[in-house]
Subunit: 488 residues, 2 copies
């Protein structure tokens, strides 16, 4: 067999094993009996050992040196395999194992600390995580910037300097919009009791409307909503709060954006190195455009009002006012609950703290004070307790440093995609007002989703939109949407 065929067959098995690993993670969050956690950690450790051995297998380097791609898709696969191989061989096996071992228990320690509002119970673990990730970052950076090196895991090709410049351009307009909205009286949130079965039926109907295939997926309950898997088995989770039905619904639409991206990748790419979403930022662009630009648009919320009323009963607000209820703006502590205006400001402060942490200007011991000071400065309110501050996000507990900026990048990408979508579908609002999201989904599928990792993250967005990436469409959209909604 030629080197190319051998390499691609080897990679296919690796990808299949990667899917198995993802399925274990899904099971852990949805189905696993409580008493099985220790055994599951061993099972995942065993899988990680196998996957690491395959990524660092010397034959991969050899095949890569000899393989000659025949198509653009094969060339892209070789680039991606090479990228992952190069990264893996730079990390000593004992460091990789130490990180895997630590991060399999550190999330539980964080969860307990958060529940107890006890930063001190988490900091020693966080210190260990940061120490190991600093060591890993130094190994993979090869003399370059360690934080840049970490970012490559989530958004290949992006640098912290680019992100910093992007955020510097975004911040003034976001702050100005936020400040204009501060004087506006907001409508109350939805209140009442909304049954679990009814919420789940509504959410499932809307998930299908947004293209989620239950033939290739399923919806379960979990503590945190997530999407899991690629190819023909892409599962999502949701959670239900009987007092707040928008949480279940919109978190599901968000996860459907992630899942539809995976489900819509052409079958020829399944179980290849480019058979999943190309980066966290591009992934987030899909979840955010589904959730925000489409499902939170005034045109769609007027339609949604009817579906919600049918499933849940009277909402206490009319269809034309519903967009303001759904898009109400409020300063709050929690990133995942933030409106579109505040959301990126949460990301920006995490990005700056992470850069300082990996640039040597900030230590773990000082992180809480730095967080609280920065939050007060940026949001004009104090952190009232650690669960609303440093302990709110799971990411750092499992070593996800360099990940947060991809959330804001996803919003920027979504802004670009949305502008191009409106250019190509002038009557988008007419469709959305009747609940017809299919034209928008088809556009996203054809332009972006079906191609998986064929192009780099940046090229993926630029191919889809036909334009260079810019923050301007997102900021223009936010100004226009909130200006019209709240008369500012």
């Amino acid at each position: 067999m030629a080197a190319l065929e051998e390499l691609l067959a080897f990679q296919r098995t690796t990808e299949a094993l990667g899917q198995v690993m993802g399925r274990l993670g899904w099971d852990q969050e949805t189905m696993m009996p409580e008493g099985a956690a220790g055994q599951r950690a061993e099972e995942m450790g065993a899988m990680e050992q196998i996957l690491h051995a395959r990524r660092t297998d010397p034959r991969v380097g050899d095949w890569l040196a000899r393989a000659e791609p025949r198509t653009a898709a094969e060339a892209a696969q070789l680039r991606e395999i090479a990228r992952l191989h190069d990264r893996a061989v730079k990390v000593p096996a004992d460091l990789a194992e130490a990180l895997a071992r630590l991060t399999s228990v550190s999330q539980g320690i964080w969860a307990k600390a958060r529940a107890a509002d006890d930063v001190g119970a988490f900091l020693p673990t966080l210190q260990q995580v940061v120490d190991l990730r600093r060591e890993e970052a130094a190994a993979i950076a090869d003399g370059g910037d360690p934080y840049d090196a970490l970012m490559q895991d989530y958004e290949p090709g992006t640098t912290a300097a680019e992100i910093a410049a992007l955020f510097d351009r975004m911040r003034p307009r976001l702050v100005a919009l936020r400040d204009r909205l501060a004087g506006v009286a907001m409508p109350p949130a939805l209140s009442g009791r909304f049954g679990r079965e009814a919420q789940l039926a509504l959410t499932t109907e809307i998930a299908r409307r947004f293209g989620y295939s239950l033939e290739h997926g399923r919806i379960d309950l979990a503590v945190h909503p997530f999407s899991s898997g690629s190819g023909t088995d892409v599962r999502i989770t949701t959670r239900i709060d009987e007092g707040a039905p928008l949480g279940c619904l919109y978190s599901t639409i968000h996860e459907v954006g992630h899942a539809a991206y995976e489900q819509n990748i052409v079958p020829e790419l399944h179980l290849t190195a480019i058979g999943s979403g190309v980066s966290m930022g591009v992934h987030e662009s899909q979840s955010r455009i589904y959730e925000n630009q489409l499902a939170r648009s005034p045109a769609f919320t007027a339609f949604l009002h009817g579906r919600m009323t049918e499933h849940l009963g009277p909402l206490g607000v009319g269809p034309q006012d519903f967009a303001r209820t759904i898009n109400r703006v409020e300063t709050g502590h929690i990133r995942t609950e933030a409106d579109e205006v505040h959301y990126n400001l949460h990301v920006m402060m995490r990005f700056d703290l992470e850069r300082q942490l990996f640039g040597g200007q900030l230590e773990v011991a000082d992180l809480e004070a730095a967080w609280n000071a920065r939050f007060l400065a940026d949001f004009g309110m104090a952190v009232d307790r650690p669960a609303n501050g440093l302990l709110q996000d799971v990411h750092w507990s499992v070593g996800l440093f360099g990940y947060f900026p991809t959330y804001a990048l996803g919003n920027v990408y979504a802004g670009c995609l949305h502008a191009a979508l409106r250019r190509d579908l002038p009557d988008l609002d007419g469709c959305l007002a009747t609940g017809d999201v299919a034209p928008a989904l088809d556009w996203l599928c054809e332009r972006l989703q079906r191609h998986g990792g064929l192009r780099s993250p940046r090229a993926t967005i630029e191919y889809a939109t036909g334009s260079a990436i810019s923050e301007a469409p997102l900021l223009d959209y936010l100004d226009a949407k909130y200006g019209a909604l709240f008369g500012i």
Copy 2:
């Protein structure tokens, strides 16, 4: 590290990967979206490739040659690792993978054929399965009997000649009992509609009573009831028929027998080569003694009547007559629905057909005719449709040849265990009559379950009972039980 430590650490990872494989099988039957079957086949093929590579790893042979066990448990582990290694190295990797791939899709083909009562739609697949298993059997038999070789996967140390002799001894007494019962008027089966939720609540309560730990397991619905997993994650499934509540209840008690065996193995043996039930026959002895000798005993059914009435409402039969309802004897087509008198006769005919198939006296093309002729001869009734004949069992579709005899062996073992249990617990019926199964479960746990694969299958039973294995206790028990119940 010494050879022993290296080998045991290596094996631990292999066992963890084996558990992952089991979890994929569970997921496939309970949770997997329908459209994911093809991808799942690749995932399981990839896992099988890894597992096969580990079982055949030359280092295992080297470690085995140098390892010196310090305890009986370590010696047993080395024996089991050697047995699996020897078997695995005899099977070419491409054959192992071809079998894994085929059997991951062949079950679906069988299920469709059975639903359509279409033998022709299944035979080409069955032919492929038989061809590959014949090839495998020849490879592992090393010149010996191929069917004997297959049986080692399920009941190490047993030969087809032994089984044939056992069945020859059992058949006359079973047939005589069956014929005596043929003239007895049987009570009607339970009839009515019994809600799904109520059945599941009853079943879960009884499963817990029989020692099933939901902290280390869960109960889900599936097309066929099964138990899956070892150590701290042992899951069972059940199915509910609203018109026949005994099916859900007794199939669950059966699976609880399997699962409790796994759950009760001492933690020190978890994720070792002897950390699971030692053989299918011994496993079946646990499921059958839970289901039959305990849960179908007249003492327990009198207690059960009260619990069923509380959950399901009036049953139309009193507590003292309930044992006859539960133990009614009726000739039928389906093995899994057979009473204790007929059950082993079903197994015997499958065993004979399998031996002919692997001995070269029978071909797949002639299997249906052979089945139907044999069924008519043994049961005095014709097969009315393939779903009630050749297509009724899943086993052959996934290559499980040599497995059926372990069901009858399990019954024989259960007979031995039951006789010893009654010897040691003279007031067993007094306990069962109050629903107190704990003394019996404790006896089984201490004598048998907790030791996992420490001893050979035969030695496991003989250690537990203190006697040689014999079919006599089972046949005596059946004569006595049915004689007393139906006055023959």
